[in-house]
Symmetry: D2
Subunit: 151 residues, 4 copies
Amino acid sequence: MQSAPLREHIEPIRVRYSETDQMAVAYHGQYLVWFDLARTGYMEAAGYKYKKLEEDGILFMVRDMYVRYRKPARFDDRLAVRTRVTAMRQARLKFCYSIERTPEEGGEPELLATAWTVLACVDRSGKPRPIPEHVKSRFEVLPLREDEGRI
Amino acid sequence: MQSAPLREHIEPIRVRYSETDQMAVAYHGQYLVWFDLARTGYMEAAGYKYKKLEEDGILFMVRDMYVRYRKPARFDDRLAVRTRVTAMRQARLKFCYSIERTPEEGGEPELLATAWTVLACVDRSGKPRPIPEHVKSRFEVLPLREDEGRI
Amino acid sequence: MQSAPLREHIEPIRVRYSETDQMAVAYHGQYLVWFDLARTGYMEAAGYKYKKLEEDGILFMVRDMYVRYRKPARFDDRLAVRTRVTAMRQARLKFCYSIERTPEEGGEPELLATAWTVLACVDRSGKPRPIPEHVKSRFEVLPLREDEGRI
Amino acid sequence: MQSAPLREHIEPIRVRYSETDQMAVAYHGQYLVWFDLARTGYMEAAGYKYKKLEEDGILFMVRDMYVRYRKPARFDDRLAVRTRVTAMRQARLKFCYSIERTPEEGGEPELLATAWTVLACVDRSGKPRPIPEHVKSRFEVLPLREDEGRI
């Protein structure tokens, strides 16, 4: 029995060779895949498999997004994508993310990127539909942190 | 009025930055996307849009494939994917490909890769179905060339 | 002899099968690849091959970006990515984009997405460096259009 | 102290949303990324980080590959990529793979695909170089299994 809504999810990522480009860093478009994984992980941690939601006709489409790239990620890096919900309306959801590189041994994590996405809840035909209450109740809406003001 | 079945299609490709990896060459998995584009181009040249075929419930799934990488492709290279059907059965189709780099000015094209794929014709549920005769009649089955014996 | 700096570039895109996802639309992360292609096309139209710039040690890295998704793009759609520079500083460049779907026959183009990216000019070690004057002089900086205020 | 060379590595994969296509299955080209991850995992399990090997100027490039697709993989599936070395020469290495879907609960794993790749060991300029003995000694060469005869 889950008693409290989810506050935060941290999705571990390891940078794949296929995700690098000839600048020898992870291609910037790849980050959107990681945020997507982080949302799926967040929902699963909150008690919902996104796969199951889609089967039930509850789809989340990205409506808009912003990414601030700070330092490059490199092949084989271990990353942590910290993921929170910072706003929720009837048919919309805002996620905030930060990507940190986990140091190999000791050392401090390094902030590589911050980002947010707004998702629209839609049905299979693409029309807006309210996010079900039982789903909403599992996501805690947190205020932006000070360092997210920079986003 | 198209009078003869299609013998060969040449699909032009330009290597995208996102397709490179940190070896500063096109990632080897990317070639499968190019072969896919080449098949779509072949079908369109033969008078069928693959999009339309799928809408009509005629899907082609890759059943097996082989690729022989010879020389790397690089960012911004102009490639030509030479595409032919070399075998056709009731519900299967074999495509052979060669990828050549088009020289910037003068010079000879360079052979970068050769490959083949076998496609299965299936319906929406994934069950084998015969390739429609009107489609088959548009594809000329050509014998393997000598240099394709190397495939 | 090119007499005037480039005002706008329109990059034609055709949506690849590999770019779709199981929602049967182009995956949202894929748009960043298209904007990347549009920048490369813009630079080439302005007289500079991005490949050549990189070889000369002039790299453009994406610093931040925003995308507003309006309507989904679908497999085989023909798109036009309208691309302009809307700000230029010593080591930074801002590109604005809009993606329109080109109608099959007759009809009006449909606006699918708008976006912007800020690029930082860096050297091979990733340190900021000024955009060379001869490059800057080829890019016309245009004011935001009214409909880009919505971005 | 590692006493015996590595016989087999099993790389766990979870199918990403971005890896699906509009047939609602994992895009066939994506499998090559999974095999790549499996090789990296194999090398790490054998005591070598591929990242480190590359930094030391020991690169493995895919020379040719074959994939046999049996059943589709779907979004969120948990897969296991079973990976073994089945041939090793001075500057070449052959990997065999099978991809199984791990059942949600109970049930039997399902075989989704089998494949092999031949890798060439090259230096940074792309010229063949012998695989270092200390690396070779960590990989056990296993005979093809009967079901790999089908490959």
